[in-house]
């Protein structure tokens, strides 16, 4: 049985619908990545699936008692609000010190419990959000563009961490991204979204799909070399230095 299944979702922000007739499902232990350009309705789809917003049409079915861990897109903590990492993990439900330390160790930050949230680096902050999501012992981990503002090594490290956690916890992962060249290699299924589902399938199928290429162009295709070295496209498009992709240098 699917963890979440949705049918015919149509929704927007009061104006014309941003999403039209979207179907979706995610099964246990599956890694699904939603990719799409800005304004494609990626975050809106997540909000519908999480029940934060109601669709104008269609319905969302969640497995009864689904344990969900949610890492929001970006979280700004006002400087006026003093908050240690430990206190943050205890919101809204109080967690014991041992439990806090355990999830922080899971994300590689074992000694951070007493530190103020506002003093964390961007990468540390996202890891703390991830640790907070782990407190629910999730069957489904939902990540909304969790690596915004991180540099390349940071992004790669973050997704390696998520992959490690997934294989240990056996949870499903639903993430939204436009860092597709990093995420795609780990995904079972990629959904290319632009108001509707343009195409869907394994990373390889999607990256080759004409709908995907129409949306992202060939510029990002070079980056796919990270995991796929058979260059099935030419480099004659207007790229400043087509053979200097850092990914090409990777072993």
């Amino acid at each position: 049985m699917s963890l979440i299944a949705a049918r015919g979702l149509t929704a927007g922000f009061g104006g014309p619908p941003v999403l039209r007739d979207v179907d979706f499902r995610i099964d246990p232990a599956e890694i699904v990545t939603i990719v799409g350009p800005n304004g494609a309705g990626k975050t809106l789809l997540l909000r519908l699936l999480l029940g934060i917003q109601r669709p104008d049409a269609g319905r969302v079915m969640r497995k009864a008692g689904l344990r969900l861990g949610y890492v929001p897109q970006r979280l700004h903590i006002d400087a006026a609000l003093p908050m240690t990492v430990g206190r943050f993990l205890s919101l809204p439900l109080r967690q014991g010190a041992a439990r806090q330390r355990a999830v922080l160790t899971d994300v590689g930050l074992p000694d951070l419990r007493g530190q103020q949230m506002t003093t964390l680096s961007g990468g540390q902050f996202q890891r703390v959000l991830l640790a907070r999501a782990l407190l629910a012992e999730p069957e489904l981990l939902v990540l909304d563009e969790p690596t915004q503002g991180m540099d390349q090594p940071g992004i790669a490290a973050f997704y390696r961490l998520v992959e490690g956690l997934r294989s240990r916890l056996g949870c499903a992962v639903l993430s939204v991204s436009h860092d597709l060249h990093v995420v795609m290699s780990a995904s079972d299924r990629v959904i290319c979204l632009n108001g509707h589902v343009c195409c869907e399938g394994s990373p390889r199928v999607v990256s080759a799909a004409p709908e995907y290429r129409a949306l992202f162009g060939l510029g990002t295709a070079g980056a796919l070399a990270l995991y796929r070295h058979d260059h099935d496209h030419d480099h004659e498009h207007d790229h400043p230095n087509p053979h200097a992709h850092p990914e090409d240098a990777a072993p």
Partner: protein
């Protein structure tokens, strides 16, 4: 014995001030965290309209102020939700409710209204009945905040995170609005409509420097407010200064000290 003690006007004033300080200090933290300072101000200014309506219809001032403050807070939230900029909405409502209040008061027979008592408070004239109302109101506010504390804090951090945890941010906003209207209604007699916002914001801002967690900040803010009340009342008694402004002035001095100490601590930490 307690009855005899409450005969002393100074003690009644002190108790009333302490109740207000604790409720306003706690709520003030949320006002500061959620950047609602101007929202608090607008609700407080609306109190004058509440006073005028209460006098005109011969109902209790407390009820009149509570209702009008609540109405203004709800109108502000509704307009802001419909796409009006928050500061514009507040600017319109804060000053227009104050203006309407002042105009409405002018229609009342002059003997019945000493407007300055409502604008700047009249803490030394707090009677037993007033004290009872203030105590009940303050306890209600503290109880409400303590009951919803975790949900309020989560919704303050992130509405999405709250939603995902099964908390409804809209309901928590309503809790804060209600608490704010209550604080305005109980503080009117103590510091007056023009200075209520100060009792919300200054103790909380002062506490920020020293607090490492939200609970500590709320407790400190209540404590700082209480000290300002006690000191301000003493000042007023010895120097014959107006009580409400003296309380706020002391709180402001505490803020200046705390801000300087905070800056100093940062410098020392930077040099190490």
């Amino acid at each position: 014995m307690i009855a005899a003690v409450l005969d002393d006007f100074f003690l009644r004033a002190l108790l009333a001030g302490l109740f207000v300080a604790v409720a306003a200090g706690m709520l003030g933290c949320f006002v500061v965290w959620r950047r609602m300072a101007y929202f608090g101000d607008a609700t407080a200014h609306a109190a004058i309209l509440g006073v005028a309506l209460a006098l005109a219809f011969s109902v209790s001032i407390f009820a009149g102020v509570l209702l009008v403050a609540l109405a203004v807070a709800v109108i502000v939230s509704t307009l802001a939700g419909r796409g009006w900029a928050m500061d514009t909405t507040l600017g319109v409502l804060a000053h227009s409710s104050l203006a309407f209040g002042l105009v409405a008061v002018s229609f009342l027979p002059a003997v019945r209204v000493d407007l300055s008592a409502y604008l700047f408070g009249d803490i030394l004239a707090v009677g037993r009945g007033d004290l009872a109302v203030i105590a009940v109101g303050a306890v209600l506010v503290v109880g409400l905040l303590a009951w919803r504390w975790s949900a309020l804090l989560t919704a303050t951090l992130s509405e999405d995170l709250a939603h995902a945890a099964g908390i409804r941010p809209a309901r928590e906003r309503l809790v804060l609005t209600l608490a704010l209207a209550l604080v305005v209604a109980v503080s009117l007699k103590v510091v007056g409509a023009l200075l209520i916002a100060a009792m919300l914001i200054i103790p909380a801002a002062t506490a920020r420097t020293f607090a490492r967690g939200p609970e500590a900040m709320a407790g400190l803010a209540a404590g700082i407010g209480a000290v300002a009340v006690a000191g301000g009342l003493g000042l007023s008694l010895h120097l014959d200064t107006p009580a409400g402004p003296s309380i706020v002035a002391l709180a402001a001095v505490a803020f200046a000290l705390s801000a300087s100490l905070g800056a100093l601590a940062l410098r020392i930490a930077g040099r190490r």
